[in-house]
């Protein structure tokens, strides 16, 4: 017993030595900035990001009084909801299609990954060109095929800017969903489908009684992760519209950035960062619980 105790302490000392560099690094570059931004949200700041006076919750109260801020919170929620729902539906269809064996399926799977594999900022720049109202191939293709005689100016239109932007976010997110669902589907034992066939199940019944229950956990984790990423999608919006026209495509992330680095309202930026932090922490705790449950730890 004694000897074991000795080994135990020496081993844990070694363990601390091993985790020390990473932990210190995370403390300096993740934990400290987070703590700092929380503190900053309770201060009055100047344009040079100095913290002047402690003013308690006044920043929060003032922001909550702003109509635009509330609109943006609301928009972030439905941005996330619509985009994740669309990614889920398209991803599911794609996965179901790829779950059937045929020659060339591997190529199709590889091609499907490309939007996810490609660099997001560069894809967003390409979409900027695709959406170009004068020389862009989207508008002209719609016109020349007769699908849509009079397409809008995608990113400049008050109604269409949001749709055009969210589509790019959806587009990037589909491959991940499809791949994860597909991986889940392929782990479903074939006997279950055979049994369903014997019972005379039709396609819908096969999906709802065999496929979906089989991928339920994967489904939960994938949609949760997708919610986090979608809520956090800074790149697409910033590159395509910078939140415009007239702020109609801003979500919390881009609005925070704009407040901080364009308008130098550091205190407001800090408050919004804290709001983001709270929302994301809640979601990630749920993710952690499901993840641990699956790992069986």
């Amino acid at each position: 017993m004694r000897k074991k105790g000795y080994l135990w302490t020496s081993k844990s000392r070694l363990a601390y030595l091993f985790i020390l560099p990473a932990t210190v690094f995370l403390l300096i570059f993740m934990i400290y900035p987070t703590a700092n931004v929380i503190i900053m949200s309770f201060y009055e700041t100047d344009k040079m990001r100095r913290m002047l006076n402690f003013i308690g919750f006044r920043n929060y109260v003032e922001l909550l009084k702003e109509k635009e801020f509330l609109e943006i919170i609301f928009r972030s929620v439905y941005w996330t909801f619509i985009a994740v729902a669309a990614k889920t539906i398209f991803g599911m269809i794609m996965a179901l299609l790829l779950n059937i064996e045929y020659t060339g399926r591997k190529i199709a799977r590889t091609l499907l990954i490309i939007p996810w594999a490609s660099s997001v900022p560069i894809s967003a720049l390409l979409w900027l060109w695709v959406y170009n109202p004068e020389f862009g191939l989207l508008t002209s293709t719609l016109k020349s095929t007769g699908l849509w005689r009079n397409p809008p100016i995608w990113l400049g239109d008050i109604k269409w800017a949001f749709i055009a932007t969210i589509w790019v976010d959806i587009w990037i997110g589909i491959p991940f969903m499809a791949l994860v669902f597909l991986a889940g589907m392929q782990s479903i034992p074939n006997e279950l489908y055979e049994a369903a066939d014997i019972d005379g199940a039709n396609l819908w019944q096969r999906f709802f009684y065999v496929t979906f229950p089989g991928i339920r956990n994967v489904f939960l984790i994938a949609t949760l992760l997708s919610c986090l990423w979608t809520f956090n999608d800074f790149n697409v919006i910033y590159i395509l519209t910078k939140g415009g026209p007239v702020g109609l495509t801003h979500i919390l992330i881009t609005y925070t950035y704009e407040n901080t680095f364009a308008w130098l309202k550091w205190n407001y930026g800090a408050v919004m960062a804290v709001v983001t932090l709270v929302i994301l922490s809640l979601v990630s705790l749920i993710y952690g619980r499901i993840y641990f449950r699956e790992e069986g730890e």
């Binding site: 091993f18 995370l26 594999a117 060109w129 550091w266 919004m272 922490s281 069986g296």
Partner: protein, 276 residues
């Protein structure tokens, strides 16, 4: 049999249509980069170039400082990869091999940090970078990128290390190996595919990172490719044929790398749920 064949034809044609829609911007990219500039700015534009040319692949190097951007991206992504590996390997080893007080807290911290949004830290990180004179430096970006890749890579590596049997290692330790030697000679070679995955992951992350680079880099000499191309578009008249060409060059290596690790990445993200 016949019913199955019909089903297959339907499946293949739907897949084909979906893929056409999904790859649309890349078709536009290819069509644009093969057109001489006078064919780019015609209204209405057309898909197939009348005089297809590869001249943009020569012209782009003069129009866009691509060599600088690529070098910067390589330094930043390579640096992130190295630093990230140096920090994550020992940490993941400790987590996978030792029990120690505080381990559970550490695990939870790692999972929460994985989900962090850059926006939460970018504000104060800007202050830190300013104090340490790290604005407009590679180091600043390497540090902030590593902060974001670290928790996920520790997490993934932990999984790989756990799959390496402890017996061989214990035998080596009894024979007088130190822990570091055991990691070097036994654990890392066996977990090599996992290690490569995390290395590629951190490289790709840093290559594609946008917000930190946008915030911390102002000098054109230090810009990675993402910000470089973004600022190229920001100018009054964008030459899209060059943007398409540069995008093509920037995407190819990253897509290839991504395809190499895609399966492990998905497994790492969804954890045990997919093993079934």
């Amino acid at each position: 049999m016949r019913r199955e064949n019909i089903l297959k034809i339907i499946v293949i044609s739907f897949t084909f249509i979906f893929l056409l829609l999904l790859l649309f911007p890349f078709f536009v990219m290819i069509s644009t980069m093969l057109r001489p500039s006078r064919e780019v700015y015609t209204s209405p534009p057309y898909w197939i170039p009348k005089h297809p040319t590869l001249s943009n692949f020569i012209g782009v190097w003069n129009q866009v400082p691509l060599v600088t951007y690529f070098t910067n991206s390589l330094i930043i992504a390579g640096g992130t990869m190295v630093l990230n590996t140096l920090l994550s390997v020992p940490a993941a080893y400790a987590i996978s091999r030792f029990r120690f007080p505080g381990k559970q807290i550490l695990l939870y911290m790692l999972i929460v940090l994985q989900m962090f949004s850059p926006i939460v830290v970018v504000i104060s990180l800007f202050k830190i970078m300013f104090w340490f004179h790290l604005l407009n430096t590679y180091t600043g970006l390497i540090f902030s990128n590593t902060a974001f890749t670290l928790s996920f890579t520790i997490w993934m590596l932990n999984g790989y290390f756990k799959s390496v049997p402890v017996d061989i290692e214990e035998a080596a330790l009894i024979d007088g190996c130190t822990h570091l030697q055991a990691i070097q000679k036994i654990v890392l070679p066996i977990a090599a595919p996992g290690l490569v995955t995390t290395m590629i992951y951190s490289f790709i992350f840093a290559w594609n990172e946008f917000m930190f680079a946008l915030t911390f880099i102002q000098s054109a000499k230090k810009m990675p490719i993402t910000i470089g191309l973004y600022s190229f578009v920001g100018q009054y008249t964008t030459q899209w044929e060059y943007l398409a060409t540069a995008s093509f060059l920037a995407i190819i290596p990253i897509v290839v790398l991504f395809l190499l690790i895609e399966k492990q990445l998905v497994a790492g993200l969804v954890g045990g749920a997919v093993k079934g």
